[in-house]
């Protein structure tokens, strides 16, 4: 019965071919360091799932942001867990991205024919940092407020366009409700959309070109 349903679906989706191309492809024998990329992807998915769950209760306004985070942590069933996973996942994301990048550098995996894989990876890394920076403000606690005050002020030092960047980031001269609203918007819409596109390209390239082999001496 299951086989028949599977066959019926395959006639329409062609998923067996997709499965073959993506999962049954042959890859060089590699070591454990090659799991860092998929681990990053896994934590990224963790961030997406827990992040979506958090938005159900989170309210991005200075009056209620703090209360809603407190409510999530103390009242919502498993809210503390969701928030905990999202919080620590952010750090894990940074660590794993960097380790993944270092692996690629030391194995020379950015070389022909994987230059574009590398570039999409680097841009994704910047997006991840952007996630960290924008997400830091959202709990609207002291740490969030003052670290963002300093952080946006540092950006102001950029030559020529610095003051302009500051105003764009803060939505004015001061750190206000507008800042919170735009950090929230950037954190849950702009950055995820951008990252999703970049990661899809990144994965497409990984599948198409294949993962690099561990270089041997003299190679």
């Amino acid at each position: 019965m299951a086989t028949r349903i599977g066959n019926w679906l395959d006639e329409r989706f062609g998923w067996r071919r997709v499965w073959e191309v993506i999962f049954l492809r042959k890859v060089p024998k590699v070591n454990w360091l090659y799991t860092l990329g998929s681990a990053t992807l896994f934590v990224g998915i963790n961030q997406m799932v827990t992040g979506i769950l958090l938005t159900i209760y989170y309210v991005p306004s200075p009056d209620q942001a703090y209360d809603s985070v407190q409510y999530i942590t103390t009242q919502v069933p498993a809210g503390w867990l969701i928030r905990g996973l999202h919080h620590w996942g952010a750090s894990a994301m940074i660590v794993l991205s960097v380790l993944h990048m270092l692996r690629v550098i030391f194995y020379g995996a950015y070389k022909y024919p994987r230059e574009m894989t590398w570039i999409t990876g680097i841009i994704s890394g910047i997006i991840v940092i952007g996630f960290g920076f924008t997400g830091y403000l959202l709990p609207w606690d002291q740490k969030a407020f003052w670290a963002t005050t300093v952080g946006t002020r540092i950006a102001e030092v950029t030559p020529i366009i610095g003051p302009w960047i500051l105003r764009i980031m803060r939505g004015g001269e001061e750190l206000t409700a507008v800042t919170l609203a735009r950090f929230f918007g950037v954190h849950v819409w702009f950055l995820p959309a951008t990252l999703a596109v970049l990661i899809l390209i990144h994965l497409y390239l990984v599948v198409r070109i294949g993962i690099s082999a561990v270089p041997k001496r003299g190679e």
Partner: protein, 700 residues
């Protein structure tokens, strides 16, 4: 990497793949294990540590120490090495360069070889980068440990770590001319808050000391910390601090505390560091504490920096102290003399000192060891060693800061101050532009211009100061120096001299029109407003000169008297004879104008007490219980009030004091008792009756 290399690589890769494994399940299995492990780690972190949530954001709370998330700490630390103008390097240049290098990496490293041994450049640069980031992060965490873990005992260091270190790191370099105390107290920009809301002045002082002399703070903790808290001593009296350090166990309050001879325990540079910590080389603060009590906001300096440095270093003669024996009783002199020998022995000396001495001496009590000597100095006054020999008291850093600040503070302000003082004190006689004019004190005398190059070139500053301070009694100029009974202190006189000197550089060009020309065209009101009001006030209320609206002036002087006063002046005062300047007609107009100042109360009929409404009710309530029924004076109606009584008439219209009624009410009558017999009526009621009599005792 050319086509051949590319081809070779692709072929080699194909072979690797053939020898390889299928992605599923082999690699997926490994991935799953790692991902699962990471997930469990995240679960554990979420469970055991959780996601922290601090206090609700409070934009007004500037005491909060902002810390970025840990993965930004290295960047944060990096910025500390690029202070001020260089910040842009840490913020923009380095990150941008790193980012460009990363993106361009495949195009920079184009060699076909992949093993790191053949790519040592990339490997080394990357390793150095990783080590730098890790190192910076560790440094950042170590440099600003939580306050609880800070060095024990060194409170100032703890204060610094808590409030300053998060942004400024372990040390701050400031340029010598920074007014550090003011900067910390008032803040700078949004991220450098105004600390005066959260820190006490003492705490800010100790922070300034710590920043400028961190070693001194440690020395303080080690040597003084057992008995003293840092904030209680910082920015104290440098004279006392220096004395305590020099005298060691012989310092009065240190005799029983087992204090060592500091000169043996501490090296000279350590003593300097300690003094620099306790009295930070912060020019503005040094000036405010040590100089302002005598010198006010700033000092007018006509010499250069070396001269100023010499004056401050050497101290010496300063204000002339008046001979107090002229003004104080022997008892007061003795009290003051005891007080300066030992302030605790005579508490009442505190008040005397505040009244007579602190205007010049500030809070600092000049110490004298010998009662007789102190008494003699106070009694005789004269040239007086007020300014301490700062060169022996201050460290060279403190002296530099003080000189620097004094010079910068002197620029601009005193000339403006001098101009203001000139306008207040000199303009009446010397004119707005120093052009001179008729001498108000000596009729017929003309004051020559003092703004002319000839005048200014032929008199040095000392002469000008002396003239201002002592006046020119022979020419009618009163002394302006405080020491001679005038209103100006030395600094104010210096400021005026500076202003006069400014005429040398910018000679006043717009001399006002000749007085005579304009005098012919203006009438009483304008003349009064321009000339008389400077001394007598806009409304004749009296300033330097006497009040012209007071009733005794108006009643005791006939129009002719006032005319004569204006015409001839009063030789003993600043009132000149205006007859030389004004025409008789103008003086008459002036007299008429001055007459309008007469107290309006005595002219407006509505304000005269009415017999029926004001006076009679008083009689009825206070007098008529006896008078009118028991014989004698009868206070029940106007006629009886005026005509009855054993000594009638009791009311002489217009003469309250001469009327028996007035005398009885006031108790000035020599026979019989005051009325009412129970005691004097309230002043208000008496005043109504007296005013009614004075206004003619009308039946109104």
């Amino acid at each position: 990497m050319d086509e051949k290399d590319k081809q070779a690589y692709l072929e080699r890769y194909e072979q690797e793949k053939k020898r390889g494994v299928p992605f599923f399940p082999d690699l997926i299995f490994k991935d799953a294990i790692v991902s699962l492990a990471i997930f469990f780690i995240l679960l554990a972190l979420a469970y055991f540590i959780g996601a922290p949530l601090e206090e609700r954001a409070d934009p007004a709370d500037t005491t909060y120490t902002p810390r970025p998330e840990w993965y930004f700490l290295f960047l944060f630390q990096l910025l500390k090495y690029f202070p001020g103008q260089l910040e842009v390097i840490g913020v923009f240049v380095i990150p941008t360069v790193v980012l460009i290098l990363l993106i361009a990496l495949p195009f920079i490293d184009r060699h076909p070889r992949r093993h790191y041994r053949h790519r040592l450049g990339v490997a080394i640069v990357t390793s150095v980068g990783v080590i730098a980031v890790v190192g910076l992060t560790v440094l950042s965490i170590r440099e600003a440990p939580p306050p609880a873990e800070t060095a024990q005992g060194d409170q100032t260091a703890a204060l610094y770590l808590e409030n300053c270190a998060p942004c400024h790191g372990s040390a701050i370099t400031v340029s010598p001319d920074t007014n550090l105390h003011a900067l910390i107290a008032q803040g700078k920009h949004e991220d450098m808050p105004a600390w005066n809301a959260d820190l006490t002045t003492d705490e800010i002082d100790s922070l300034v000391g710590f920043i400028l002399s961190p070693g001194g703070s440690q020395l303080f903790t080690d040597n003084c910390g057992e008995c003293h808290q840092a904030p209680e001593l910082v920015a104290g009296d440098p004279i006392e601090l220096k004395r305590a350090l020099d005298l060691g166990p012989n310092y009065p309050t240190h005799t029983e505390s087992g204090v060592p001879v500091w000169a043996e325990v501490l090296k000279p540079e350590e003593r300097t560091a300690l003094l620099n910590f306790l009295v930070a080389p912060d020019g503005q603060r040094l000036f405010a504490i040590n100089c302002a009590p005598c010198h006010g906001q700033s000092v007018a300096i006509s010499g250069g920096e070396p001269e100023l440095r010499t004056i401050i270093s050497q101290g010496g003669r300063h204000l002339e102290m008046p001979p107090w024996r002229d003004r104080l009783s022997t008892l007061e002199l003795e009290t003051l003399a005891k007080y300066v020998v030992d302030p605790t022995s005579v508490p009442e000396g505190d008040q005397l000192f505040g009244q007579y001495c602190s205007a010049c001496h500030g809070e600092r009590i000049p110490r004298a060891d010998d009662f007789t000597q102190a008494q003699e100095i106070i009694a005789s006054g004269g040239a007086h060693e007020v300014m301490p020999v700062w060169g022996e008291i201050l460290t060279s850093e403190q002296l530099d800061a003080l000189v620097g600040y004094t010079i910068s503070a002197a620029q601009g302000l005193p000339v403006a101050l001098g101009q203001q003082l000139y306008a207040q004190n000199c303009i009446t006689c010397h004119g707005e532009f120093g052009e001179g004019g008729p001498n108000p004190a000596r009729s017929g005398d003309i004051i020559p211009p003092i703004s002319s190059a000839e005048y200014l070139n032929t008199r040095d500053d000392t002469t000008l100061r002396a003239i201002l301070a002592q006046g020119q009694p022979n020419f009618g100029m009163s002394p302006f120096g405080a020491a001679y009974g005038g209103p100006l202190d030395d600094d104010e006189i210096d400021a005026i001299v500076l202003y006069l000197r400014s005429w040398e550089a910018n000679p006043p060009v717009d001399l006002p029109p000749e007085v005579e020309v304009s005098a012919l065209q203006i009438g009483g009101q304008e003349i009064y407003g321009n000339v008389c009001s400077q001394c007598h006030g806009e409304q004749g209320e009296g300033l330097i000169g006497p009040s012209l609206r007071a009733s005794d002036f108006q009643t005791e002087n006939t129009d002719q008297d006032i005319f004569d006063s204006i015409n001839m002046g009063h030789p003993a005062t600043m009132m000149i004879g205006w007859g030389e300047i004004l025409t008789s007609e103008q003086i008459r107009q002036l007299v008429n104008y001055i007459r309008q100042f007469a107290e309006p109360e005595s002219e407006v009929p509505g304000e005269i007490p009415s017999f029926a409404n004001d006076v009679l009710p008083i009689f009825e309530a206070q007098c008529n219980l006896c008078h009118g029924t028991l014989g004698g004076w009868d206070g029940t109606s106007y006629d009886t009030v005026m005509n009855t009584g054993d000594h009638a008439p009791v009311v002489i219209p217009g003469d309250p004091e001469g009327s028996l009624l007035g005398q009885k009410l006031l108790g000035t009558h020599t026979e019989g008792t005051i009325m009412p017999p129970s005691g004097k009526m309230s002043e208000d009621l008496i005043a109504i009756i007296l005013e009614w009599i004075a206004a003619g005792a009308l039946d109104n």
